[in-house]
Every structure is written in structure tokens, then in C-alpha cells.
């Protein structure tokens, strides 16, 4: 039975990294603060309060729209989305409905079958509601606390056409989008809750299912993978897929049927009478875009001679790209390999961001590698020791200090020659096997030398020297 095509569209909400909220001057730096301490009459929705548009937020949104090649409306409008919920203090959210800021853009990603364009339906601005903290379980919760610190934080909503064909493509799209937003300096991906995703997913010919409450990048692929499997299983059993809204439960990696009162709400949208239409023509021209991921990727290839694969990896995040450029000065190729192939792996394993590795320290390590002072294996060991120290909150040692402390310096040429001679005389049987044509004997001998020098040599290099030595003696 042929598996039906997967059709996915995403609705992404990102918190814009402005200093103030969308409609008032309250600080957006509310995390780790006491609840309800970053509020004012406006974001609390006190009677008589009125919204004032944050120009910075508009600028940021226009940057995003421009970088995604959207048509920017000359005149857009704010609307009220009316519904009752305790964390929505005005009982309406100021958003944009029928006249959004921008429409019809695109983002290029590496799809499952090569490069492809994902169409952006629309981009608009809105405010975040407050935050509900449920005490107890959602079913039998004793009470709910509401914190309005988050109320009024500027959000940008980006909606895609259903152009994505797999959970993996969805993840790639999000990564590209995130990188773009970082490069534009409008978004801090490390802030908790700064990105929320709702996904619409269907198998061709069947009903669409909406999945809400996805708040991490990894979560998106997990949620969608689970959904695809769930839907395929239903079809295999001859059942139909119901059109519904489901919630993603991150902890269990599953989607569940939504039992809350989020059914078809009539939001009674109408234009926000307290705000004037947004005219952005003059602003749009003034906006200059910085170097975006694709351009940077190309530059890495031409300027640093980095491979296309490496360039893609290294430009995947703004901080990572900047890190690379700092450490690439001496030897771009070496830096590329060690950053992309080794460092990233170690960081991901520990759930660290690039911040965990000070670039100065990494540069030192690269120098030691380049000068042939240590073996690759030792370099990896040093890398791990540094990151483990960071994980424990300790100040990491400098690579040179570790080399000295653990005696990781490579054995000198003379020492190596000495040890080779010793092994050759200690292992006559293996030597004889080698001369008899058994190549495994060479590997064995290399291993013996490695043992002798406690790994302070390059096995590949040893292989060559040992062979030379043996061949000479004949």
C-alpha cells in the first residue's frame, strides 16, 4: 500500500526582541522576575488605558518581511480578536486580521528532494497574552494563577502555505527561519517560550489536523512524526482521520485530543478603533538588511574555502557563524573541521549552545592541533574536559595547561623511532608475519607502539613510519 503524501503547514509565533512591549513602555525582560511586576495600566488593560504602537517592533517585523521577500502592505490595520480567558486581560488581543503587515513571501530550504521554496502566506504583528500557571492537574486543577508580565510582549506571526512534505522538512524550515531571525537581530532563540509553533498536517486526501502547543524546535519534528504515524496507522486500520485540534505533550512526545473549550471560537474581529492604520512606505525603504544566512554561506565558501556542507552547518546560527569567523583566522579549513565535525557534536551531546566554548580557548586548541603538538584523539579529550568543566560551572583550564598536566604532548620523532625499534625487537613473530605478507601484523605492531607511547602519537602517521622502518630492514 502506497503511503500517502504528507502535507504540512506551519503557524509560527516569535517574540520580537524589543526592549519594550508592543503597546506600552514596560520592559520585555520579565523572565526570572516576580509575577505581575512588569505591568502598567496599558498591558494590564485597566479601564481607560489605550495602546501606543512600538515603532521598533514594526521595524523588526518589516525586516523579517523584507528578508522573506514578502509584499509589504502600504497600509495595514490592527484588529481586535475578542474572546474570554483569564490570561487575556482586555478580553481581546490586538492583532492584525484582514489587513496584515505583509503577504506572499518565500524561504528557501534544503528539502527532502533538494532545494525548495516554502511559500509564506502572511506575516503580522500582535501582542502576547499573559501566562496561566495551573496548580494541580489540568483536569482536576485546584486553581490557576495568572501572571501578566508576558501580556503585551510583541509577537510576529508567520504563516506558511502547506508546502512542507515531511516532519524533517518542517524542522529544516524552522531552523532556517530561526537563523534568519537571529541574523536580523530581531529574535533571541534562547529565551524560553520565545517561539511557539502550531502545525497543520494531513495525509493527502484526508482531513487536516491542527497540532498546537509546540514550543521547541525538537518538539516540532517529534510532534509531526508522531502525528504522521498516528494518521497512517488509522488509515491502515481502515479508519478515517477526524478533523480536529490536538495538543502536543512534549514530555511524552505524543499528541492528544484537545478537550479544552478551544472549539470554534467566533472572534468577532473588527478594526481596533484606538489605533490608526499603519502606513509603512517610508520605513520600508530605509530598512537595510544585514548579511543573511544564504549570503553568509556563500561567503564562507568563497572567502574561507570551506566546503558547502561545512558552510551550511557553520551558518546555521548567527552566534555559531560569528564564532567560526573568530577562530578561522589562522587556518580556516582546520577551524571548519574542528568546529563543525567535532565541537558541535560535543555541544549537542551536552545540550549546550556555542556560548559554552570561549573562542579564545578554542583558538588555542586549534593552534596545538595545527602545530602537531597533540594528536587528534588528545584534542578531543581536551575538548571534552573543557566542556565538562563548563557543565559543572567551573572555570575551564587552558588547553596548554591540560596538555602539561596530563602529559598529552605528542611523542617526539626520536622517541617514536626508539619505541618502534623496541617493538620490532619485542615482537619478532609479528614482524615475521608482516614480511610474510600479512598486513594485519602491521596494524598489530602499530598498536603496540601506541601502547608504549600511551597514545601520544598519530596511528596513521605511525603506520607509515613503521612500514618504512620495516621495509628498510629487508
Amino acid at each position: 500500500m502506497e503511503d500517502r503524501e504528507t502535507i504540512i503547514g506551519l503557524e509560527i509565533h516569535c517574540q520580537l526582541d524589543t526592549k519594550s512591549k508592543m503597546f506600552c513602555g514596560c520592559s520585555t525582560d520579565f523572565r526570572d522576575n516576580e509575577p505581575n511586576t512588569h505591568t502598567c495600566p496599558v498591558c494590564l488593560g485597566l479601564p481607560g488605558s489605550m495602546p501606543m504602537v512600538n515603532k521598533r517592533a514594526i521595524e523588526f517585523a518589516l525586516k523579517v518581511a523584507k528578508s522573506l521577500n514578502c509584499n509589504i502592505r502600504e497600509e495595514s490595520e490592527f484588529s481586535r480578536k475578542n474572546y474570554f480567558y483569564p490570561d487575556l486581560d482586555k478580553a481581546y488581543q490586538i492583532t492584525q486580521y484582514d489587513k496584515p503587515l505583509a503577504e506572499w513571501g518565500k524561504l528557501l530550504i534544503d528539502g527532502d528532494d533538494g532545494e525548495k521554496e516554502i511559500r509564506i502566506t502572511r506575516i503580522h504583528l500582535e501582542e502576547d497574552p499573559g501566562r496561566s500557571v495551573h496548580m494541580g492537574t489540568t483536569d482536576r486543577g485546584k486553581y490557576t494563577l495568572v501572571d501578566y508580565n508576558r501580556a503585551g510582549i510583541p509577537l510576529i506571526e508567520i504563516v506558511t502555505e502547506p508546502d512542507l512534505r515531511s516532519p524533517k522538512e518542517a524542522r529544516k524550515f524552522l531552523n532556517k527561519l530561526r537563523a534568519t531571525l537571529e541574523y536580523l537581530n530581531v529574535f533571541d532563540s534562547e529565551k524560553e517560550g520565545s517561539l511557539r509553533v502550531d502545525a497543520n498536517i494531513s495525509l493527502k486526501g484526508s482531513e487536516r489536523v491542527e497540532v498546537k502547543n509546540i514550543s521547541s524546535y525538537k518538539g516540532v519534528e517529534k510532534a509531526l512524526t508522531f502525528e504522521v504515524t498516528r494518521q497512517r496507522n488509522l488509515l491502515r486500520r481502515g479508519q478515517t482521520i477526524a478533523r480536529e485540534t490536538r495538543h502536543f505533550v512534549e514530555a511524552r512526545g505524543v499528541t492528544t485530543s484537545s478537550r479544552s473549550k478551544e472549539e470554534e471560537n467566533d472572534y468577532r474581529y473588527f478594526p481596533e478603533p484606538d489605533l490608526l492604520p499603519l502606513k509603512v512606505a517610508s520605513w520600508v525603504d530605509a530598512i537595510e538588511l544585514p548579511e543573511l544566512p544564504d549570503a553568509r554561506r556563500e561567503r564562507f565558501v568563497t572567502q574561507y574555502g570551506v566546503s558547502a556542507e561545512h558552510a551550511k552547518t557553520l551558518t546555521g546560527g548567527l552566534k555559531l557563524a560569528e564564532f567560526y569567523e573568530q577562530v578561522a583566522k589562522e587556518d580556516p579549513a582546520l577551524a571548519a573541521t574542528w568546529t563543525a565535525d567535532y565541537l558541535l557534536g560535543e555541544l549537542n551531546y551536552r545540550d549546550f549552545s556555542i556560548d559554552a566554548m570561549p573562542s579564545i580557548i578554542f583558538q588555542e586548541l586549534l593552534v596545538l592541533i595545527k602545530s602537531d603538538t597533540i594528536t587528534d584523539k588528545s584534542a578531543v579529550e581536551i575538548l571534552r574536559l573543557i566542556l565538562d568543566a563548563v557543565k559543572e560551572g567551573k572555570q575551564p583550564e587552558r588547553p596548554q595547561e591540560i596538555v602539561t598536566r596530563l602529559g598529552l604532548a605528542k611523542s617526539s620523532g626520536d622517541q617514536v623511532t626508539q619505541m618502534i625499534e623496541e617493538v620490532i625487537s619485542e615482537q619478532p613473530a609479528a614482524v615475521a608475519d608482516y614480511y610474510a605478507g600479512k598486513m594485519q601484523a602491521l596494524n598489530f605492531l602499530v598498536g603496540q607502539v601506541m601502547k608504549k607511547c600511551r597514545g601520544r602519537a598519530d596511528p596513521g602517521h605511525l603506520n607509515i613510519i613503521l612500514k618504512e622502518n620495516l621495509d628498510k630492514k629487508v
Binding site: 479601564p47 481607560g48 501606543m52 480567558y85 478580553a91 474581529y269 484606538d274
Partner: protein, 432 residues
């Protein structure tokens, strides 16, 4: 240098909800002038209820912009006045705390929704007051109580701090026994406020002039049509003759959009109100909500108990007209009708400078007389067009019928508040 005055009015007409017994005031153009403030305007530290039980005990932590301006001008804010709940009404009978009586006849209403502000001025309890006008709520009580009241051009006075009823229609405005005082008060409260995005940068600094030589006055047929008490019409016509004797020229005109104005008004204001009043749930302010229930049930109960009948009626009407499937038929249509009203004014104002007519179709009703809400809505017919268009309009007393005051309404072009104030001043001076 701050001074204090004591305020202990004989408020038998129930014009105040809150009075401040000891009021400090400073220097400035209104130093020591006693001002009463309608109870839908936020006053820091002073209970602000909108005459509703759902806001009983609510003490705003901030001042409305106009309050800041009044304080800076040295005015003495002596109390918060009674009104129709949330501004919804034409008589102040919809107050949750009882109606305000007309000081000229205690068996009659003071008008609404700024009934308390008008009555306090008419009764001489204060020098002047501020009210709000969404569909006639300053002009109506001014007419019924025999004082002057102005609804400014939309945007000339900041709405920051005015507890919203219908954002696209309302303005805060001055009310006084004479036009000069009204003008002085207006000068203080008008001007740009960056916290109100609809606020316009057009301060008012005008001394009323009585020279109306050559002024062209338009009299729309519809303002004197069916539904207007013929005696009221006569008094107003006489007043317009007085204006003619002062050098004005009268031109008759017609406003066909009048027949849609009332519906356009009620659809618009109830729609906006249904959204503006949704925040009143007892969670953050007002009487505390019952927390042992599910939020949905608690909200329903709180709002049913806290809002009066007329408020609930208008919220339901507004919710309906914004509902999916009805938006196009009602709200959107209302905006089209609204544009027709604007267009009519624009057309008429090409040939005339000021439009005149009665403010209200009748004199103040007796308490309890208008029990049918629709009957009540019909009395707004002459005042709502100015709100729909946003043009300035004022009411100035122009005579009596059955010993009750009649108001002459003057409507001007956008930003020509100065001109209608002059016209009113000229009329007033002639009468004195």
C-alpha cells in the same frame, strides 16, 4: 503654592457619586475653579465607578490625561458625578446608584449620560464640569438642564483615561453655565496626548468673539421634522432669528443620511462597547469574583450581577452585530452609513459655516416616562450625527417650554470648534 478649599454641597439632586471634602489646588489659569468630573474618567486615588456595580470600589492607580491637565491648571477637582451606567443612556436613570434629578424640576430627569455633571453646574454646586459625549451625552443633559456643553472635534481632547464605551465616537468635553467659562475650561483640556493614538495636535487657545457678521447657518429640514416637539422647534427657530439679527445668513438644507444615522450609531456603539466591556470580570479590579467556580461560570455570574439591564442589552446587541455571518450585514453596513453622514456634512459645509437646530426633540422627560428602550434611543436622533462624523457640536440654552430649558445645537466643520463657540457666545451675549 497649594491652597485648600472645602467642598460640602447640598446635593439633593444626587448629582455626585463621590465628593472630596477637602481639595487642594495650585496656581494656573483655573486656579481655585471648582470642577466636577464625570465618573467614567479615571482619577488616581479616587473611586471611579462609571455608575456601575461592576466597578464599585475601583480606585484607578493613574489619572486620565485631562485630569493631569486640570491639576496643572490649578483647578479644584471636587467630585465624581453621576451618569448613566458606562455612558449608556439619555437620562441618567440607568445609574446603578439612582438617577440624578433635574435641578429645575425635581420630577424630571437631568438628561444623560453626563446628567450629574450637567445638574451640578446648573444647580450652582460647581463652577463647571467635564463630561463625555458618545451620542449626545454632553449636549443632551446640557440642553435639559439649561447650560452650555461642547462635544469637541474628535481627537482634540485625549481619551486616555476615559473608560471606553465607544472609542470611535466619544470625546470628553467641557460644560458650564456660560460660554466664556466653557471656553476657558476647553483651553485647558484640549491638545495632543501621545498616549492616545487618535489624539490630534490642535490645542485650543481662543477668546470667544461675538462677531458673527456674514456667518452662514444651515438649517436641515430633518432637524425640525417628525418627532420634534413643535413648541421646542418654535423656540429654536426664534433663536435662529436672533442669530440672523446679529448678521448671520440662514440657508435651508437637507441631510438625507439622517434616516440611517440612528441605526448606524447604535450598531457601531454597541459593537465597540461589547468589546470594551468584556474586560470587566472581577479578576483584576472591581468586586472580587467568586474563585471557587470554573472561570467561565464565575464570569457569567459576575457580569450578570454587576451590569445593569441596559448595559447587558447593549452588550448583547453589539456581540450580535459583530458575530460571524452578521458582521457584513450590520457593523460594516453601519460604517457605510456613517460615511454617508460624513459626506452629507461635507456637502452642506461647502455652502454653510454652521448647522443649527434643536439639541433634543423634546424638553426633559419626567422620571420613568420613557420605559421603552427604543423610545429612548429615538431621542438621540439629533445628536448622533455629529458623533458619527466627528465634527464639533455644542448646545447652548435658548429659551424654555413649560418652564423647562430648550437647547440650541450648533454643529461646525472639523476643527472649527472656535467658530461654533463664537456663535454660541454671540447668541448668549445678545440674550443677556
Amino acid at each position: 503654592m497649594t491652597k485648600t478649599l472645602t467642598f460640602d454641597p447640598k446635593d439633593t439632586i444626587h448629582s455626585f457619586i463621590t465628593t472630596i471634602p477637602e481639595v487642594s489646588y495650585g496656581e494656573g489659569p483655573l486656579s481655585g475653579v471648582t470642577v466636577a468630573v464625570k465618573d467614567n474618567i479615571s482619577t488616581k486615588g479616587i473611586e471611579t465607578t462609571c455608575a456601575s456595580r461592576i466597578l464599585q470600589g475601583y480606585v484607578p492607580p493613574y489619572d486620565a490625561h485631562v485630569i493631569t491637565l486640570l491639576k496643572e491648571s490649578g483647578a479644584a477637582i471636587v467630585g465624581k458625578t453621576n451618569m448613566d451606567e458606562f455612558g449608556m443612556g439619555t437620562t441618567t436613570e440607568n445609574s446603578a446608584f439612582g438617577p440624578t434629578l433635574n435641578p429645575l424640576d425635581l420630577s424630571r430627569v437631568a438628561g444623560g449620560s453626563s446628567g450629574g455633571s450637567a445638574a451640578a453646574v446648573a444647580a450652582g454646586l460647581v463652577d463647571c464640569s467635564i463630561g463625555s459625549d458618545t451620542g449626545g451625552s454632553i449636549r443632551c443633559p446640557a440642553a435639559f438642564c439649561g447650560i452650555a456643553g461642547l462635544k469637541p472635534t474628535y481627537g482634540r481632547v485625549s481619551r486616555y483615561g476615559l473608560i471606553a464605551y465607544a472609542n470611535s465616537l466619544e470625546q470628553i468635553g467641557p460644560m458650564a453655565r456660560d460660554v466664556s467659562t466653557l471656553s476657558r475650561l476647553y483651553a485647558v483640556i484640549a491638545g495632543h496626548d501621545p498616549r492616545d493614538a487618535t489624539s490630534i495636535d490642535k490645542p485650543y487657545s481662543h477668546t470667544p468673539s461675538s462677531d458673527i457678521q456674514g456667518l452662514k447657518i444651515g438649517i436641515p429640514d430633518e432637524f425640525f421634522g417628525e418627532g420634534v416637539n413643535p413648541q421646542v422647534a418654535d423656540v429654536v427657530r426664534e433663536s435662529i432669528k436672533t442669530l440672523e439679527s446679529l448678521g448671520a445668513e440662514v440657508v435651508s438644507c437637507t441631510m438625507p443620511s439622517m434616516k440611517y444615522a440612528l441605526s448606524a450609531y447604535y450598531v457601531t456603539c454597541t459593537s465597540e462597547a461589547s468589546s470594551n466591556l468584556a474586560r470587566f470580570d472581577g479578576v483584576r479590579y472591581g468586586p472580587a469574583i467568586e474563585t471557587l467556580k470554573s472561570w467561565h461560570d464565575a464570569y457569567s455570574e459576575q457580569r450578570k450581577d454587576g451590569f445593569g439591564k441596559e448595559v447587558r442589552r447593549r452588550i448583547i446587541l453589539g456581540t450580535f452585530s459583530l458575530a460571524a455571518g452578521y458582521y457584513g450585514r450590520y457593523y460594516q453596513k453601519a460604517q457605510t452609513a456613517r460615511q454617508m453622514v460624513r459626506d452629507d456634512f461635507e456637502r452642506i459645509f461647502r455652502d454653510v459655516d454652521v448647522i443649527a437646530g434643536p439639541t433634543m426633540p423634546d424638553i426633559a422627560f419626567r422620571l420613568g416616562e420613557k420605559s421603552d428602550p427604543l423610545q429612548m434611543y429615538l431621542s438621540d436622533i439629533l445628536t448622533v450625527p455629529a458623533n458619527l462624523a466627528g465634527v464639533p457640536a455644542l448646545s447652548v440654552p435658548c429659551g424654555t417650554v413649560d418652564n423647562m430649558p430648550v437647547g440650541l445645537q450648533l454643529i461646525g466643520r472639523y476643527f472649527e470648534d472656535e467658530r461654533i463657540i463664537d456663535t454660541a457666545y454671540a447668541f448668549e451675549q445678545e440674550g443677556s
